[in-house]
């Protein structure tokens, strides 16, 4: 894309997509979180020690603060909570705590890509 302003390769960017907002029933926070989770899933490098019982699904460890940081400040703590709740209710993400380290309270998220794509296609067809 032609850039008007200087674009460093290190520059972190958050996208708010119209299609994501639609698929999340207009929930802006959920669409931002979906965008962040997609980005993190794409750039995820698996740790072989973390793979449990042949489960090779990508689980993203992310705290609320990290979500806020990754949103470039677009999210607050409450918006993050409500956005994640929306995503779980819509069936776009799964969540769990660490399966072995019980003391580890950081929740892990798995993005159900197929589920999101299915909804996106449905919206596109309807339009």
């Amino acid at each position: 894309m032609y850039n008007l302003l200087f674009n460093s390769s290190n520059d972190y960017c958050v996208f708010v997509r119209e299609s994501f907002t639609k698929v999340c029933n207009g929930d802006l926070s959920a669409s931002i979180l979906l965008s962040i989770l997609e980005n993190l899933t794409t750039t995820f490098t698996p740790d072989p020690n973390e793979i449990i019982d042949g489960d090779e699904r990508i689980w993203i460890k992310q705290t609320c603060k990290e979500f806020i940081s990754n949103s470039n400040g677009m999210l607050t703590a409450n918006k993050t909570k409500s956005g994640l709740k929306t995503l779980v209710e819509l069936g776009f993400i799964l969540k769990r705590t660490h399966p072995y380290q019980k003391w580890n309270r950081t929740i892990q998220y798995h993005l159900l890509v197929n589920e999101v794509n299915k909804h996106l296609l449905a919206i596109e067809e309807n339009e």
């Binding site: 302003l5 200087f6 520059d11 972190y12 299609s19 907002t21 470039n72 400040g73």
Partner: protein, 439 residues
């Protein structure tokens, strides 16, 4: 990068870049608006290029060329809200635009062709934004802020971090290559391969502040230190010393609610054509004038922002010729009597037009001071032109004068002047024979 989730065609999006948030001092709405305006400007530039090609074709066909267009973006508040996908509210759009205008990142105008059109038009100033972005500190982890809190709105932390990081970076990489469109004058990113772009070099060696964009923050601190040290050394009262560059200060005597930080005030002052040396010289001169008794000037600027912002501040005090005009004249310093007396309006509220004491006023002085005394004093005072002449007065006159003034009957001169007259008279009265009573 491969996308996991499918993208519908013509999917509209808002991209919030971390660098935009940083250059907008953490103002999120401003960063989003900047992103929206950038996208629209790119769209406009593409349109212009397309129109130029189209015009060449029309020219060959001998037809009239179409209007190429410009990069001004026509956009109302509600359109900004729509473009932000509902992230921005009405007020946040207003505040965001204000921030961008204050930072000089965008320009605004009314519709030049249609006078009644009140929707403003906006133009991005890429040169200024690119300058700020180029000088932003690099992220250690490749740009992502994973696990790090984004600093909230503007504030000290951001400025402080940037100041320190800017100093570190200034030595390492003094030059950054960016590309400029020679036709449109826009700076493009390095990684975009456009054939018609010309390499330019942005020199960082002049240590530009990443946020305020003019001079290094060390120089700001130097100016502030100069101000504070002058107050301390000269023991000036009524002028405030300041702790940090981010102190919000009143900068206009008339608009007491408006404030700006010291660094902003310094940048504004520099933008008006003053150099850092001029500012330091003006501060030194100002305090020299205030502390010395040989100058009549005694106006106190309560803070540094007022001094920097005022038209009679730096602009005047940097000139030595102006300082000379503030010196007291010799005659003034020798004898203040006439000056003080003339500045003191004669008030005859207790005397009528014939210099006769009103009967109502007699209660103030009692029986001791009569009509004749009042008349005599007025006559005597009219003849006196300086303190020195008081020595020629009779002792009894002086006594009368003192009684009358202390009693509040005659307000032509103040008690200070009277004191001076009495002192002078006391030193000279040996030449006159004292009289017990005049009446």
């Amino acid at each position: 990068m491969e996308n996991l989730i499918t993208r519908p065609e013509k999917d509209f999006f808002v991209a919030l870049r971390n660098s935009f948030v940083n250059v907008c001092n953490g103002d999120l709405p401003a960063a989003i608006i900047l992103s929206i305006l950038e996208n629209w400007t790119i769209y406009k530039i593409k349109n212009i290029q397309q129109n130029k090609i189209h015009n060449e074709v029309l020219k060959k066909q001998g037809k009239k060329p179409v209007d190429v267009g410009d990069v001004w973006i026509y956009k109302s508040n509600s359109e900004f809200r729509t473009d932000s996908l509902g992230f921005l509210s009405k007020n946040s759009v207003i505040s965001g635009i204000k921030t961008l205008l204050d930072l000089g990142f965008i320009e605004k105008r009314n519709n030049p062709k249609i006078g009644w059109d009140r929707t403003l038009q906006w133009k991005v100033v890429p040169e200024k934004i690119n300058k700020c972005i180029c000088h932003l500190p690099k992220q250690e982890d490749g740009g992502s802020y994973l696990g790090k809190a984004i600093p909230k709105n503007t504030s000290k932390k951001l400025l402080k971090d940037k100041r320190s990081l800017n100093n570190d970076n200034s030595e390492k990489d003094n030059q950054t290559t960016t590309k400029v469109d020679p036709v449109l004058g826009k700076i493009d990113s390095v990684n975009v391969g456009k054939s018609n772009l010309v390499d330019i070099v942005v020199d960082k060696s002049d240590s530009v502040d990443p946020i305020l964009g003019k001079v290094d923050s060390e120089i700001y601190n130097q100016i502030l230190d100069n101000w504070n040290s002058n107050i301390k050394s000269n023991q000036i009262k009524g002028v405030s010393a300041h702790r940090g560059l981010q102190s919000k200060l009143k900068y206009d005597m008339a608009q007491y609610r408006k404030t700006m930080s010291i660094s902003e005030a310094i940048v504004n002052c520099i933008d008006q054509g003053n150099t850092v040396e001029d500012i330091n010289k003006a501060i030194d001169n100002y305090f020299r004038v205030l502390s010395s008794e040989s100058f009549w000037y005694d106006f106190r600027y309560q803070n540094i922002a007022l001094f920097l912002h005022s038209e009679k501040g730096v602009c005047k005090f940097k000139n030595d010729s102006y300082i000379n005009t503030l010196k007291k004249k010799e005659a003034d310093s020798v004898d203040q009597y006439k000056k003080l007396r003339l500045s003191y309006d004669p008030v005859f509220f207790k005397y009528n037009s014939s210099n006769i004491l009103d009967t109502n006023a007699q209660t103030y002085c009692g029986v001791g001071i009569g009509i004749c005394k009042g008349r005599n004093i007025v006559r005597i005072l009219d003849e006196i032109n300086s303190y020195a002449e008081c020595g020629n007065l009779d002792q009894s006159y002086m006594k009368m004068l003192e009684e009358t003034i202390v009693a509040g009957l005659y307000q032509k001169i103040s008690l200070d002047v009277l004191r001076g007259m009495l002192d002078t008279h006391a030193s000279n009265r040996v030449f006159h024979m004292p009289k017990a009573e005049i009446l």
